[in-house]
Symmetry: C2
Subunit: 250 residues, 2 copies
DNA sequence: ACAGCAGCCTGATATGGATCAACCCGGATG
DNA sequence: CATCCGGGTTGATCCATATCAGGCTGCTGT
């Protein structure tokens, strides 16, 4: 019976959050073993996007949030003038679309940076479910709040920090997100182009390039194209903190 | 009976959201007439803070969100180094603390910019209630999402716009928030010091000062200390949009 | 009435990063 | 195999805004 229901309302791509290696990062994190099935019932799993394809853009009516399953996504706001501001990069286990929950249409454009698969959470069903599962509701608040904090952090970086500090901060953020996924935190390949980094951090591409080579010359990193190796994490942390130090040091 | 319960669990400051002039901006917006009472039951109303007093800071354990009832609040993140980054200004009807819902302690410090009264929403009770009132839950998601968007907007302003554009945008934002409260959108007094504006917009105080006088010389505004009059709103809008124009114009 | 001080304004100078211009590399394309 | 093209790097120059320095105004407390 339950079988039959699922079959007719869902695509053949029935989700199995239980077996997903990311369940400890993603929404399932919040729910009890026996409630997991209810989450699975509303999730549509396994849509694949090729590099450069849009998951949604600012003209798409807002219906769903998306969890990255593999690959990576860049979100950006495109102004009327065609100007772009990259607002975030999303890696496996992270949830995209939370900024749109107050709008008819998505508040940003989401683009796959590489071949990427996502799980789709229709918000009407999600809201219904969070109404029933307090843990899940709590987790949603948690995630959204986190998103606000991230964005404040970005604003801070943009308004107070030098080019070097911004890039160091980005590298460290990526590093810790790779670690979370049990991948090497010192040896990874950037999913995004220099251009996107520049845009995200409010810099010119040329500046990003220069800082990369400067860091390389100082022996802090090794970088060849998108391949990056963090040779001296401590030094990177110093860079990001130095600006904070000056304030109180004397 | 209901009376008795309320009496023992609440301070004498029983909220009356029904009579609040801000109920059409604040959380009550979301709930039905007959559910309003349940919201009132959890709200603690009428705490007053004098200019400069902290509503909370980053060492305060996170318990509650606060709605501004009168006055205004500035939130900022203070780094270990003592550096401050102003993350927002909150006026009557707006909710403070959403960025902290993922933390043990508040993610920022909230300070009254003038004599300010707030309504307090303990989050444990609030979450419980939103679990029962889908409309209220939806409204919470809405508010948090809005907060993310605002912050992205700020990031955009900080990374792409000139000093003039940033200040024009702030003035317009304040203007529309005064209008929402049915106050003059062209003739108001800034609740915050130049210093806070500068910090918020990632500028030096001197630059803010200069832009104010420049705008004044161009006949766009009239400003004397914190008293501001917007003489030419169109012109201000032009300033904020100009940068977007260039992108597509040719 | 006075000193002290915070907030604000103005001018002169310095600078980090944008901008402009050129070149290089590697992979796709015919 | 030659060509092309997007992405990345490097160098030279310029500019918006920070920074430094000084002065003004209007409180606040004595």
């Amino acid at each position: 019976m339950a079988q039959a229901i699922r079959l007719h309302q869902m695509s053949p791509l029935k989700a199995s959050c239980q077996q997903c290696s990311l369940s400890n990062l993603c929404l399932p994190l919040a729910v009890e073993e026996n409630d997991l099935e209810r989450l699975e019932d509303i999730v549509q799993q396994g849509r694949i996007f090729n590099r450069g394809e849009h998951i949604f853009d600012q003209s798409t009516p807002f219906r769903s949030c998306f969890a990255v399953k593999s690959g990576s996504i860049k979100t950006s706001i495109i102004t009327e003038g065609g100007d772009e501001q990259v607002t975030g990069f999303y890696m496996p286990g992270e949830l995209v679309g939370l900024d749109s929950m107050s709008s008819e249409h998505y508040a940003c454009t989401a683009k796959a940076l590489e071949r990427t698969s996502v799980c789709e959470f229709p918000v009407d069903k999600l809201e219904e479910l969070t109404g029933k599962l307090p843990e899940l509701q709590h987790h949603m608040y948690h995630l959204m709040s986190q998103e606000i904090q991230n964005s404040h952090q970005l604003a801070m970086l943009l308004s107070k920090n030098t080019a070097e500090e911004r890039i160091a901060a980005l590298l460290l953020s990526l590093s810790s997100r790779f670690r979370r996924r049990r991948m090497s935190p010192t040896n990874f390949s950037l999913p995004m182009a220099r251009n996107d980094i520049a845009n995200f951090l409010g810099l010119a591409v040329e500046t990003v390039s220069r800082v990369f080579t400067r860091f390389q010359n100082q022996g802090i990193i090794r970088a060849k194209g998108r391949e990056v190796e963090l040779l001296d994490v401590e030094a990177l942390q110093m860079v990001t903190r130095d600006f904070a130090r000056q304030g109180c040091q004397q």
